[in-house]
C-alpha cells in the first residue's frame, strides 16, 4: 500500500509544479508575448486565421464574443452530427460500422460539443475511424479551446477598467488550439504510443485465443484521441471502457501521464489568471482554496478504496489490496481513487476504474467533485465556475466589512448578482430536477422490471446511478456510473439537453458578467477594501463552496451514497 500513497503524492506534486510553468506559458500566449515555441506554432496560427479570414485585430464586446462562440459551436454541432449520421458511407470505416441512431447521435454530438463526452455508445462498435478523427477528436480539441477562450475573455473583462472589448473569440480559439493543446497533445500522444497505445488505420484484429476461440480485437487511431481527451478535460474514450482498456492506458507510466494530463491545464489556468490580472497572490489564494477541497477529497477517497469493502470482506474475500472490484490490477486502488477524484473535479470524465464499483463514500467524493465543478474544473470553465463562487463570497463578505461589495475594485451590484445567480442556480436545477424526473418516471411505471429496465440495482445504489448520470451531464463531466442502461430515448434526449444548457448558460452568463464588470471603473484598493488575495478571503471562499455545496446536495447525498454506506455495516 505504501508505494501507492507515494505514487499518489508524487503525481499531485509533479502536476502542481509543472502547472506553474504552463500557467506562465499560457499567459504569454494569450497576451501576445514571445514564447520558445513561436517559430513552429505561430505559422500554424497565422495560417488558420488567414484561411478563415479572421481579422486578428478586430475586438469584440461580450455580446459579439458570445455570439461568435455560439455560432461556431452550432456549426460544429451540425457538421459532426452529419458525419456520425452518414459514417457508413464515409471513408476510413474498415470495420463497416453503421450510421448512428438519431437520438444517440443527438446525445453523442451534444456531449462532445459541450466538452462533456458522456458516451451512450461504445467506440469500437459505434464509430468509424473517420468519425473518431473528424467528429470526436476534432471536437475534443476545439471545445477545450472554446472553454479556454471564454475564460481568457472573462479575465480580460475583470482586469479591464472602463473597457468594453474582451478580445477576439476566433483568435483566442485558434491560439488555444494551436499553441496550447496541439503541442501538449503531441507530447502526451508520443508517450502513449511509446507505452503501447495503438495508432493505426487498419481495422480490428481477428485473433485466435489460447483456448482456440476467435476474438475480435478493436484498434485504430487511439493515441491522439486519448491524449486530447485528457488534456482538454473531455474524457470521451476511444473505446467504451475508456482508460480502463489496456490499449488506452497500458502501463503505470501511461497512467501517470494521463493523470497528469487530466489536471495540468485546469491547474495551470489558475496561474494564468493570476498573471493576467497582475495578481499572483490572488492566484495563490484561489489555488490553495481549491487544494483545500481537492486534497481532503483525494485522501478520503484513497482511504475508502484502499480500505476495502466491508460487505465483500464479510463474504471472506481478501480486501488487503483495497476494494478491487471494478479496478485494474495494473493501476491499483489508490491510483484509481486519485484518478477518480481528479477526473470528476476537473469535469474530465475519463475513467481508469468503474465508478459504479467504488465504495459508497468513495463514490460520494466523485459526485461531490462534479457537484462543486469548480475545483480546478474543466479547462477554462472551471475557473469561470469558481469566479461565480468568488462573486458570491465577495458579495457576502464585502457587506460584512461595511462597503458595497467589490471584486478587484469593481462594485458587485444587482446586475452582476443576477448573472451570477443564473449560473449558480442552473447547476443544481439540472441535477435535481433531472434526477427527480427520472425517479418519477421509474417509480410511476407499473412494472419497472419490464417497461424500464434501466436499473440493475434498485434502492439507494440505483438512485446514485441516476443521480450520477444527471450530475455528470450537468457538470459536463461525461463519466458514467455505469450499471444504468442509458442508450434509451429518455436518457439520450434528457441528458443531451442538460449537457447543452449546462455548457452554455454557465459560459454566457459569466461572459455577460465580465462585460458588466469590465465597463465599471476600478476603485483603488485601500485599507478599507476587501482584499480577495488574503488568507481570510481564501477561508471565506472555501466555506462558501463547502456550505453552498452541502446545502444544495446534502439531501441527495444522504439518499444515495450515505444511505448505501450505512447499510454496508
Amino acid at each position: 500500500m505504501g508505494t501507492e500513497y507515494v505514487a499518489v503524492c508524487f503525481t499531485i506534486l509533479f502536476t502542481i509544479a509543472t502547472s506553474l510553468w504552463l500557467g506562465r506559458y499560457m499567459f504569454k500566449v494569450f497576451t501576445g508575448q514571445r514564447t520558445l515555441l513561436d517559430p513552429v506554432l505561430f505559422p500554424i496560427e497565422r495560417l488558420v486565421l488567414r484561411v478563415t479570414g479572421v481579422n486578428p485585430n478586430e475586438q469584440q464586446d461580450w455580446k459579439q464574443y458570445s455570439v461568435s462562440l455560439l455560432v461556431s459551436n452550432i456549426a460544429m454541432w451540425l457538421a459532426t452530427f452529419a458525419i456520425v449520421s452518414i459514417q457508413k458511407v464515409l471513408p476510413l470505416n474498415p470495420d463497416g460500422i453503421a450510421n448512428m441512431e438519431p437520438t444517440l447521435s443527438f446525445n453523442t454530438i451534444s456531449s462532445f460539443t459541450t466538452n462533456t463526452d458522456l458516451q451512450h455508445y461504445s467506440g469500437e462498435t459505434g464509430l468509424s475511424y473517420f468519425s473518431q478523427m473528424f467528429a470526436i477528436t476534432f471536437l475534443q480539441f476545439v471545445t477545450a479551446a472554446t472553454g479556454v477562450a471564454a475564460c481568457i475573455a472573462i479575465i480580460r473583462g475583470l482586469a479591464g477598467n472602463r473597457l468594453t472589448q474582451l478580445g477576439n473569440f476566433y483568435v483566442d480559439l485558434t491560439r488555444a488550439t494551436a499553441r496550447v493543446f496541439l503541442p501538449l497533445a503531441l507530447l502526451v500522444g508520443v508517450i502513449l504510443i511509446w507505452q503501447g497505445t495503438p495508432m493505426t488505420f487498419e481495422g480490428a484484429v481477428k485473433a485466435t485465443t489460447l483456448e482456440g476461440r476467435a476474438q475480435t480485437i478493436a484498434r485504430g487511431v487511439v493515441a491522439p484521441q486519448v491524449a486530447i481527451k485528457q488534456l482538454g478535460t473531455n474524457g470521451g474514450g476511444y473505446f467504451g471502457a475508456n482508460s480502463t482498456h489496456p490499449y488506452e492506458n497500458p502501463t503505470p507510466i501511461s497512467n501517470f501521464a494521463e493523470t497528469w494530463s487530466i489536471a495540468i491545464i485546469p491547474m495551470a489556468m489558475v496561474w494564468t489568471v493570476g498573471y493576467m490580472l497582475g495578481r499572483r497572490r490572488l492566484a495563490v489564494v484561489i489555488f490553495v482554496t481549491m487544494l483545500a477541497v481537492y486534497l481532503p477529497m483525494v485522501t478520503f477517497a484513497v482511504a475508502q478504496e484502499a480500505g476495502g469493502n466491508p460487505a465483500i470482506a464479510a463474504m471472506g474475500v481478501d480486501q488487503s489490496t483495497g476494494s478491487m472490484e471494478g479496478k485494474e490490477v495494473r493501476v491499483g486502488a489508490g491510483l484509481s481513487a486519485l484518478w477518480g477524484v481528479t477526473t470528476t473535479v476537473t469535469s474530465n470524465g475519463s475513467v481508469n476504474a468503474t465508478h459504479d464499483s467504488f465504495t459508497p463514500l468513495g463514490g460520494l467524493m466523485l459526485l461531490t467533485g462534479m457537484w462543486l465543478n469548480n475545483i480546478f474544473g474543466g479547462v477554462g470553465v472551471g475557473v469561470i465556475n469558481m469566479l461565480i463562487y468568488v462573486i458570491v463570497a465577495v458579495f457576502v463578505t464585502g457587506m460584512m466589512i461595511g462597503r458595497t461589495p467589490e471584486f478587484l475594485g469593481k462594485k458587485v451590484e444587482a446586475k452582476e448578482m443576477k448573472l451570477a445567480s443564473l449560473a449558480l442556480l442552473w447547476h443544481p436545477l439540472a441535477i435535481l430536477v433531472g434526477t427527480a424526473i427520472a425517479c418519477s418516471v421509474w417509480a410511476t411505471t407499473a412494472d419497472p422490471g419490464t417497461a424500464l429496465a434501466w436499473l440493475e440495482n434498485p434502492g439507494a445504489h440505483g438512485f446514485s446511478e441516476m443521480l450520477y448520470q444527471f450530475t455528470s451531464s450537468a457538470a459536463n463531466n461525461g463519466s458514467g456510473f455505469e450499471g444504468l442502461s442509458t442508450n434509451t430515448p429518455f436518457w439520450n434526449m434528457s441528458t443531451g439537453l442538460v449537457m447543452l444548457l449546462s455548457r452554455y448558460i454557465p459560459i454566457i452568463a459569466p461572459l455577460a458578467l465580465a462585460g458588466a464588470l469590465a465597463a465599471k471603473p476600478a476603485s483603488p484598493e485601500t485599507a478599507g477594501s476587501l482584499r480577495a488575495d488574503s488568507a481570510t478571503f481564501g477561508f471565506t471562499l472555501w466555506a462558501v463552496i463547502i456550505i453552498l455545496g452541502l446545502l444544495m446536495f446534502m439531501p441527495v447525498a444522504v439518499l444515495g451514497p450515505i444511505a448505501e454506506h450505512l447499510t454496508l455495516r
Binding site: N161, V392, F395, V396, T397, G398, M399, M400, I401, G402, R403, T404, P405, G409, V412, E413, A414, M417, K418, S421, L424, L425, P428, L429, L432, V433, T435, A436, I437, C439, S440, W442, A443, G459, A460, F463, P521, A522, S523, P524, T526, A527, G528, S529, L530, T536, F539, T540, I547, L550, L551, M552, M554, P555, V556, V558, L559, A563, L566, T567
Partner: protein, 680 residues
C-alpha cells in the same frame, strides 16, 4: 451646537404595541409579495393550516404535529412583520420629534412702511426685502441694497477672516447661511426657497416613501436565488421519496423549506434598512435616500472644510509678541483692554489669554471714562478710549494707517513679527496706542481636540482626508500638518473644489463633502455624499443628498460610520442566516427519511428525541431567532474603526462560525423542552 441624541428605547411600549398590530396588518399578501422569501413562508403557512384543518376534520394524519408546525410558521411571518413594523414605528417617532424640535432660521422682513416682521427664513420669497443685523445669519441668498457690513463667510469659503460686503458694485451679493459680524445690511432676496424641502426628507425617514437601495436589491437577488435553490431541493425530495418507496407529508416538506430559505435575513432586511436611516436621524442628519447612506459606507475620500470642521471656527490668541521696549505684560494689558468689549471669539480669546498667562484680570471699568470703539467695516479696527489713552487693534495695514495718521512710524521690526506669524499659518493682530505700535497678538486656528485620532482611525478604515481652506498654502500646510490630514487644498475656489472631486472620482474613488453656500451646490451635487448644513442656502440643500440639522461638518465622519454599519449588519445577518442551515439539515433530513432508511439515525448527531420533535425544534428555532435578532437589526452590529481584514475576521468568527454552531445548541435545547413538555 449641541448634539441632541434622541435615542428611543428598543422596547418602547407605544412602538411595540403599534408594531404588534402592524404585524397582522402586514399579513396582506399584497404587502408580503414584495419580499419573496417571506411570501413563500406565508404561502407555506397557509397550506399547512389547510392541511391541519383537513386532517382535523377527516381524522387523518398527525394534527397535533401539523397544527404546531402551522402555528410556528405563522409566527415566523408575524415576527418578520413585527421587525419591519418596529423599525417603521421608530422611524415615525423620530420624525415626529423632528417636526416638533425643528428650528429654522428666522428673518426680519421689511414690509411697506419699513415695518419689520419676524418670519421663518424658509417662507421668504424672491424680491422680499430683509434686514440683517450684527450677529444674525443671512437668511437667504440675496443682493445688498443698503449698508455695508463685515460678513463671516467662513462656513462656505473656509476663509476665517471676515469679508466686507456693501451695496452696489461687485461685492453686493451675500449668501444664505453666512453671518453678519458688524454693522447691518438691507438686502433683497434673490432666490425662492423650496420650503417643502425638509418635510420631504422627513417623509423619507418615516419609511413611507422608502425605496430599496442598490445593495439591498442585489442582496434580494441573492436571497431569491437561494430561495429558488432550496425550493428545488425540497420539491425534488418527494419524487426521490417515491423512488425510495415512501412519501413525505407536505407539512414536513414545508417545514424544511422554511428552515432552509434565508428567513432570518429575509425577515430583517427591510428593518435593517429603515433602522439605518433612523440612526442618521438620531444624529440629526436627514438623508434624501437610502442610496446616499450606502454610498457613505463606500466613501474613499472626505473633503473637510478647515474652518469649523478641523479647526474651531474662529482663531484664538496664543501669544503676545511685543516690539522692542515693550514688555509682554504691557502688550497683554493693552490688548486685553482693547478687547474687553469685543464679543467676537477672537476678542474673548485675547482677554482669556491675558488672564491666564499674565494674570491680568478683567477690570471694572464702570467708574472710569471708558469708550469702546467697535469694529466697523470702514476703519477695520476696534479698541478702547480710556483715561485719555487710545488703544486700537486690527490688521497690520489698518493699524499701520492709524499709527501713521497719528504721526508715528511703523518699524521694520513690527513688520518682521507680522511676517513671521503669517508664515507660521497664524493671523497677526497688531496692537497700537496712538502713534506707538506695542506689538502683535498671534491669532491661530486651533485644531479641535481629538481630530488627529479620528483621522488616524479613518486612515485605518482606508479613508483619505483632504482639508479644504481658503488660506494661503503656507497656513494651510501648517494646519494640515498639525491636524494630521492626508492632504489639503489651499486657496480653494469652488471651481478648485469641483476639480478635486472630479479628479478623485476619475480614479474610481467615492467622495464625501459638506457645504452650505450656493457656490458649494455644484460640488455637493457632484460629490457621492454631499452633506448640506441646515444653516446653508436652499440651493446647497437641494444639491446635496443629506442635510445636517445641527450644521456640524465634523459629523461627516459619523455619517460614514453609519453607512458602513448598515452594510455590515446586512452582511453579518446574511452570513448568519445561511450558516444556520447546516444544523437544520442535520435535524430534518434524518427525520424525514428515517422510515425509508432506518440506518440514517446515525446522522441524527444532535440525538433529537423523535422525528416530529426534530422538525418542530428546527422550525421553532428558525422563528425565535428572528425575534432574538430584532434588537441587533435595529441597533446595527457593533462597529469598530478597524481595517477591512480585521473587521472581516471578527464578523466571520461571530456570524459565520457562530452561525454554524449556535443552532445545534438552540435546536437541541428546544427539542429537550418539547420532549419534557410532551408536545412532540
Amino acid at each position: 451646537m449641541a448634539e441632541r441624541a434622541r435615542t428611543i428605547s428598543i422596547w418602547d411600549p407605544g412602538i411595540v404595541g403599534q408594531a404588534m398590530l402592524g404585524s397582522f396588518r402586514k399579513l396582506d399578501p399584497r404587502i408580503q409579495v414584495k419580499n419573496p422569501v417571506m411570501f413563500i413562508v406565508e404561502v407555506g403557512s397557509l397550506l399547512t393550516t389547510i392541511i391541519f384543518i383537513h386532517d382535523l376534520a377527516a381524522g387523518t394524519g398527525r394534527p397535533l404535529f401539523t397544527g404546531q408546525v402551522a402555528v410556528w410558521l405563522w409566527f415566523t411571518v408575524l415576527f418578520a412583520n413585527f421587525a419591519e413594523a418596529m423599525a417603521e414605528g421608530r422611524g415615525k417617532a423620530q420624525a415626529d420629534t423632528l417636526r416638533k424640535t425643528r428650528t429654522e432660521a428666522v428673518a426680519h422682513r421689511l414690509t411697506a412702511g419699513d415695518r419689520m416682521d419676524t418670519v421663518p427664513a424658509a417662507s421668504l420669497r424672491k424680491n422680499d426685502v430683509v434686514m440683517v443685523r450684527a450677529g444674525e445669519f443671512i437668511p437667504a441668498d440675496g443682493e445688498i441694497i443698503e449698508g455695508v457690513a463685515s460678513v463671516d463667510e467662513s462656513a462656505i469659503t473656509g476663509e476665517s477672516a471676515p469679508v466686507i460686503r456693501e451695496s452696489g458694485g461687485d461685492r453686493s451679493a451675500v449668501t444664505g447661511g453666512t453671518r453678519v459680524i458688524s454693522d447691518w445690511i438691507k438686502m433683497r432676496v434673490t432666490s425662492d426657497p423650496g420650503h417643502t424641502f425638509l418635510d420631504r426628507m422627513i417623509a423619507l425617514v418615516e419609511g413611507a416613501e422608502r425605496q430599496k437601495t442598490p445593495n439591498e436589491i442585489a442582496l434580494n437577488i441573492l436571497l431569491a436565488v437561494l430561495t429558488l435553490i432550496f425550493l428545488l431541493v425540497v420539491v425534488t425530495l418527494q419524487p426521490f421519496a417515491y423512488y425510495a418507496g415512501t412519501e413525505i407529508p407536505i407539512p414536513v416538506l414545508i417545514a424544511l423549506l422554511v428552515c432552509l430559505i434565508p428567513t432570518t435575513i429575509g425577515a430583517l432586511i427591510s428593518a435593517i434598512g429603515i433602522a439605518g436611516m433612523d440612526r442618521l436621524v438620531q444624529h440629526n442628519v436627514l438623508a434624501m435616500s437610502g442610496r446616499a447612506v450606502e454610498a457613505a459606507g463606500d466613501v474613499n475620500t472626505l473633503l473637510l472644510d478647515k474652518t469649523g470642521t478641523i479647526t474651531l471656527g474662529n482663531r484664538q490668541a496664543t501669544e503676545f509678541v511685543p516690539v522692542a521696549g515693550v514688555t509682554e505684560g504691557e502688550l497683554a494689558d493693552a490688548a486685553q483692554l482693547a478687547s474687553l468689549a469685543d464679543e467676537t471669539p477672537e476678542g474673548r480669546s485675547i482677554v482669556v489669554l491675558a488672564k491666564e498667562k499674565y494674570l491680568i484680570r478683567g477690570r471694572e471699568l464702570a467708574d472710569k471714562e471708558a469708550a469702546f470703539v467697535p469694529f466697523s467695516a470702514q476703519t477695520r479696527m476696534s479698541g478702547i478710549n480710556l483715561d485719555g489713552r487710545e488703544i486700537r487693534k486690527g490688521a497690520a495695514e489698518s493699524i499701520g494707517a492709524y499709527v501713521r495718521a497719528n504721526g508715528g512710524v511703523v518699524s521694520p521690526e513690527l513688520q518682521t513679527i507680522v511676517d513671521r506669524i503669517a508664515r507660521a499659518g497664524g493671523t497677526p493682530l497688531v496692537v497700537a496706542e496712538r502713534m506707538r505700535p506695542l506689538g502683535v497678538v498671534h491669532l491661530k486656528d486651533i485644531v479641535k481636540g481629538g481630530m488627529r485620532q479620528r483621522f488616524v482611525a479613518l486612515r485605518a478604515m482606508g479613508i483619505e482626508t483632504i482639508m479644504i481652506t481658503g488660506d494661503n498654502p503656507l497656513t494651510a500646510a501648517s494646519i494640515a500638518k498639525e491636524a494630521g490630514v492626508d492632504d489639503f487644498l489651499a486657496q480653494a475656489t469652488p471651481e478648485d473644489k469641483m476639480a478635486l472631486i472630479r479628479r478623485e472620482q476619475s480614479e474610481g474613488k467615492l467622495v464625501a463633502m459638506t457645504g452650505d453656500g450656493t457656490n458649494d451646490a455644484p460640488a455637493l451635487a457632484q460629490a457621492d455624499v454631499g452633506v448640506a448644513m441646515n444653516t446653508g442656502t436652499t440651493a446647497a440643500k437641494e444639491a446635496g443628498n443629506m442635510v445636517d440639522l445641527d450644521s456640524n461638518p465634523t459629523k461627516l465622519i459619523e455619517i460614514v460610520e453609519i453607512g458602513k454599519q448598515l452594510l455590515m449588519t446586512r452582511g453579518a445577518l446574511t452570513t448568519f442566516s445561511i450558516s444556520n442551515d447546516v444544523a437544520k439539515y442535520f435535524a430534518i433530513i434524518p427525520a424525514m427519511f428515517i422510515l425509508a432508511f432506518p440506518q440514517l439515525e446515525a446522522l441524527n448527531v444532535m440525538r433529537l428525541a423523535t422525528p416530529e420533535s426534530a422538525i418542530l425544534s428546527a422550525v421553532i428555532f428558525n422563528a425565535l431567532i428572528i425575534v432574538a435578532l430584532i434588537p441587533l437589526a435595529l441597533r446595527g452590529i457593533a462597529y469598530k474603526p478597524l481595517g477591512a481584514a480585521a473587521i472581516l475576521r471578527r464578523n466571520l468568527l461571530i456570524y459565520g462560525v457562530g452561525g454554524v454552531l449556535l443552532p445545534f445548541v438552540g435546536i437541541k435545547a428546544i427539542d429537550v423542552f418539547l420532549a419534557a413538555v410532551g408536545l412532540a
